[in-house]
Symmetry: C2
């Protein structure tokens, strides 16, 4: 078992090295890079469909759409107006890593880019351990999943900068409490920004865009 | 990388050996052993609350409730009438393995037992690779997650014997199609039993109990 742990450590530190390289490239080019994580079916792709459709004239956006199997998400995002969308099929692996991202970005001109969005595999556990060189992790949870998720998957909420509570149109269909989910999330990470959205009704989507604009400006100011 | 793969193989084959031991014990004692898997928040615990509350006088049931963090699920199941419920907190790990189950069952008298239910960590990817010595995997998906999940996480649907489509009370709140989810699931695994349930309205719960009774009888007949 000790051998397994050593090699696991080595793999992770190689990942960190590659992630640091990626982060450096993004900062130098003034690109905001986000790693979107959630359970399967929380609404990552729907949120990105809205984002691409509404902001594609305002910003140059690239998306890497990760999935265990199928390129369905990437196809949905291209239909929504995504100009540069790459599917990244892991073929069984439960997370994306920095090497996969490096390869996926090979032919992308970062100089012209404002925003890189990486849609991770739907999984609240493993992706929390892999730095993809992002500026920030965005964790999406949805109302039907229940308000206890931050307590049960603390790693992901600890390592994210913003929590999007999606499918607010389903409030009232279960015992989910918005107050409770915020309390639970902030007990894990008191600095977490929180945005409530519904991709069906459009509620909160403008607030999400405001958040994106603010952080795109921040990253630009830091850039050389 | 080749070293990593070799050790991964060794860990998995050690897991298979322990799983085979567990399976043998269950068969000898006529115990139906189920490994319940799903995304976070699909309703595994709610389904088990109903099951324990309604069937506790009919069958001797034991539950191992796995979670990355918190013993909340185990506490809910004890409140629902569970006589033998053990929390299994992985502390970060994304799946349960056969060694954890062996340890958790140490003081359980299998001779008196009819049904062992293992509630896995909420994760549609990693738990599919770990045999826990179960008779069958039960995959729970819920209506709000979307009807594409079997295509995107095929490993889990391939290795399960029954799919429970939960939260049918939310049909109509999204573009989820029951026909589509069944078609997608059966394209991955044509032998899959499918049961539609709602833990809120009670719809389909009796069908689930019928399924349990049938398989408890089957396992008893095989037992020595």
């Amino acid at each position: 078992m000790s051998k397994e742990i050593k090699i696991e450590k080595k793999v992770l530190s190689e990942n960190e090295r590659l992630a640091a390289e990626l982060r450096n490239k993004m900062v130098l080019n003034g690109v905001l890079s986000l790693n979107i994580v959630s359970s399967p079916g929380a609404g990552k792709t729907s949120l990105l469909e809205n984002t691409l459709s509404d902001l594609k004239d305002e910003f140059k956006i690239a998306v890497v759409a990760g999935d265990v199997q199928t390129e369905n998400d990437a196809n949905r995002l291209i239909k929504a107006g995504g100009e540069w969308v790459r599917p990244l099929v892991t073929g069984g692996s439960c997370h994306l890593d920095a090497r996969m991202i490096s390869r996926a970005l090979k032919n992308l001109d970062l100089k012209k880019l404002d925003l890189l969005i990486i849609e991770n595999v739907g999984n609240l556990v493993c992706p929390s351990s892999y730095d993809l060189g992002e500026y920030m992790k965005v964790v999406v949870i949805s109302v039907p999943e229940g308000d206890d998720k931050p307590l049960k998957y603390p790693g992901m909420f600890k390592r994210s900068g913003v929590m999007i509570v999606n499918k607010t149109d389903l409030l009232g269909t279960s015992d989910f409490s918005m107050k409770e989910v915020k309390k639970n999330a902030r007990s894990i990470n008191s600095d977490l920004d929180i945005i409530e959205t519904s991709c069906s009704t459009g509620e909160g989507i403008e607030e999400w865009y405001g958040w994106l604009r603010k952080h795109i400006r921040r990253v630009r100011k830091k850039s050389v």
